[in-house]
Amino acid sequence: MTGVALVTGASRGIGRAVALKLASDGFAVVVNYASNSAKADEVVAQIRGAGGKAIAVQADVGDQDAVSAMFEVVTEQLGPITVLVNNAGITDDGLLLRMSVDQWDRVITTNLRSVYLCTKAALRSMIRAKAGRVINISSVSGVSGNAGQANYAASKAGVIGFTKSTAKEVGSRGITVNAVAPGFISTDMTDALGDEVTGAAAAQISLGRLGSPEEVASVVGYLASDGASYITGQTIVVDGGLAL
């Protein structure tokens, strides 16, 4: 499958690796970012340097108007989106008893509301084309739960329920909707946890190490490929055997 792939939160971490992977697989890639334009431009430059096609588009994906504007720009410049990767996400950890309403809302908005807004916007043209792939980045936190991450885990479990429901709604139109649930992956998000926490985490992982963003991106690349045409509504855990 080729066409246009939109990756939200693609300036760094897993999103960046997904953007690079899909570009190398032949997709024209939209590198969405919230605030880090320099990093997003670097991703675009890297894709173009390798002979691929990419543009960077700023949008807060939790904001309805911003999402509408982004889809207008993208459709005008590259055409309809064939693959949507809902990757943008944040953490704002804390034990529930100390978690503010603001912490809760911010994480749910960026991680879950964004998935609703972007998927709704992308499905219009996918239904018309009777083809398309939606790939949502969840987390093992959403599968197993994680102390200190009630907001994040709820948002990521929400993504899984959204994935299954949407897969049932649009399956008859040849569109697949799947989720990928990474475990501990080396990114800015996990670097913020410190060596002690990541070291203790690694001890719980069957493969004995953190994963790389590229190891998640390869699964996303597969779900976007022709080879994955009969997989829908699934959550593929990519965690090195953490949640066993």
Partner: protein, 81 residues
Amino acid sequence: MERTDIEAKMKELLVEELGLDADKITMSATFEEDLEVDSLGVVELLMALEDNFGVQIPDEEAESLITVGEAVDLVEQKLKG
């Protein structure tokens, strides 16, 4: 826009957007039984009607649509404002 124009456009959208057989489309044909349009198909038609006629059709009004003729009625009514 004349009613006959709306009817013609409606048929065209049903054929082009929903892939229906033009011969089966009559004003009394029901979406669900005669034309075998599923719930997502009705949503597709509504989006196409909104795009092509420049009207807004709220979900609660769309829910009562049973026949092609009723969809034409609704568009006609919306166009008159």
